[in-house]
Symmetry: C2
Subunit: 364 residues, 2 copies
């Protein structure tokens, strides 16, 4: 079946682009002796996680206990929960997972560490712990320096926890090549500052985890980083493209939609709205718009309601008709994928299978 025969809206992935994206990141990490621990929040699909592991990923990253439970199905040796989980019920579930495989968690407070220790002790398991520091984004993480060492020492004293290193999320590396390079230098300074504090106290740091998709290719220029956690690179999206970090052809995940109304002059309405694409704004390149219409880049997707996408056809060379199939590259693929139960697999435009987005909606 050709993808244009799919019942719409439908999320699709071109397997050839996907495999190219996976290979490229795996090769970069091999070349630079960096561990690749991909963040699975983008795809939420164990089948794809297995493809990452078979290409040499050292483990998987998740944000939530529910994601970890699903990703255990891909059988990684270790799962990193890159989120300061707080709450006994979630930690109990993570401790259960730790019976069969290593679980590593990042945190930045003694309160979280104490709760983690109690959960591990209760079930007779051990958690690895990374201390999170802030490299400029201002989200989570201690200021790089003695505070990090102090928390690491506390972790070392708490039962059933093992301090294994540091983690930061360099989300501030964003924008044009030039902007990303500049911010990358300030991240390098923060990493150096964090490591110096540990060096001074002669406390060994096994892991320094960083990396995101926009910052990935700069990771080898940040001394001390041992591994990275990009997520988006598997599918890519407009935000990645407009930062120059991928080509349009590398945008492997696309939403297939149908034109359902052309009654209002200057409009083609499609059956993909915010419950299909997400309302995430474009944060790079030309501002505005909710995705790129591959068939008509001169017809911007200017507004979304829940189930309606508003295409402005007033300056487009294309003549839209009710029933037309269109293909949209989303602004932000991670929030888009999370809205879909299923992703259809394409080779040369033919549907060759589908995956369940098994971890979608796993918010706890």
């Amino acid at each position: 079946m050709h993808y244009s025969q799919l019942s719409t809206p439908a999320l699709t992935v071109d397997l050839e682009s996907l495999e190219r994206n996976l290979d490229r990141m795996a090769q970069y990490c091999r070349e630079h002796n960096l561990g690749l621990r991909p963040h699975t929040k983008t795809h939420k699909t164990p089948e794809l996680a297995r493809m990452q592991l078979s290409r040499g990923a050292i483990g998987l990253t998740v944000a939530k206990a529910g994601e970890a439970e699903v990703m255990a199905g891909a059988d990684p040796a270790e799962i990193l929960v890159a989120f300061p989980v707080y709450g006994a019920e979630k930690l109990r579930r993570l401790a259960e997972l730790a019976r069969a495989r290593r679980i590593l968690i990042s945190l930045d407070s003694e309160a979280a560490a104490r709760q983690l220790s109690a959960a591990a002790t209760a079930q007779g398991v051990e958690f690895g712990v990374l201390v999170e520091f802030d490299a400029g984004l201002g989200r989570c993480g201690l200021f790089p320096g003695p505070d990090c060492v102090r928390l690491a020492r506390t972790i070392q004293k708490l039962p059933a926890l093992r301090f294994r290193g540091l983690l930061t999320y360099p989300g501030n590396i964003w924008g044009t090549d030039q902007e990303r390079k500049k911010e990358s230098q300030s991240v390098a300074t923060a990493v150096a500052r964090a490591l110096a504090a540990f060096d001074e106290e002669r406390l060994p740091v096994e892991i320094v985890s960083a990396g995101s998709t926009p910052s990935a290719s700069l990771s080898h220029e940040i001394p001390g980083v041992t591994e990275i956690r990009p997520g988006t690179y598997v599918y890519n999206d407009l935000n990645t493209h407009y930062q120059g970090a991928c080509s349009l052809e590398d945008c492997a995940a696309r939403v297939v939609a149908t034109v359902v109304s052309i009654a209002v002059p200057g409009r083609a309405m499609i059956d993909a709205g915010s419950k299909t694409l997400s309302s995430d704004q474009l944060r790079a390149g030309p501002q505005g718009g909710y995705g790129l219409l591959v068939e008509a880049p001169d017809a911007p997707l200017i507004k979304l309601n829940e189930e309606h996408g508003y295409v402005d056809t007033s300056n487009s060379g294309r003549h839209f008709q009710v029933g037309d199939t269109v293909t949209i590259i989303p602004n932000h693929v991670c929030t888009c994928v999370n809205l879909h139960e299923e992703i259809f697999l394409l080779r040369s435009g033919e549907v060759v299978g589908s995956w369940l987005v098994a971890a979608r909606g796993k918010i706890r």
Copy 2:
């Protein structure tokens, strides 16, 4: 169990507020002799649809075939699909539903009408049809006038379809009381123009369907409207509140979250981000922000990542600690609910049960 003991993030609804919201809208419609055909896209929950039907709703409204399949579980006499569905697979499923109950669909093109007729004919069922006209929003719908009559005549000639009336979505009635009243007058002009064209051709119009939550209370002032389709009123949200269409106490659905990090000065990070609240912007009242923290209205939720909410604590009187429970009223409850598998039911702060959000993610 008290709601503060829920594993977070968790979507909750206060049943007392919900029942008050349901009663108020039911009473308004009775008083003004308007049919109430609530849009179930807000709650996506058959149990709640039954509460609406038991309070006198004349049927249910959905946007998608998948929502109709789930809502059939609430056993309404009739389901209105207020979306110009195009696609044989979806119409086949709707035709199957039409064996057991009346299905009514709105559309604005001959192409959609012909496909609908073919689907109904193939399965030996009948669809009721409403012709959609545009009352100023510029989304779907023909210009009110002779074009609507022409499409109605085409529908009358097509096999297995029955023309039953008109539909419009008055999404342009939005904003302050004054803004909404003004726009309501222009919607009234459009309705009058549409009805005049049918009157001239002596074509009877049984149904004139309009109404949304912000416009609901003005519906009786639009001559000709026979029924309304509000959705949001069951739970309400910040967008509704800031238009003056409900009080904060009427915001029945709230997200319970936990403070997970206070490491960065001026920040409290919570475990609810865009995959829990949605990225929908505030479109009424004070601009900016992604929801109201009930416990600290002076601490704005300034930014969301997928699983992180950024609370700006720099001007707040509250002292945030890791582990604190907070409660958020979302900007837009419809997109928020769609992200949750389950909604927890509260009475006086105690969890008394939960509903599955059975139609969430039903995009086809």
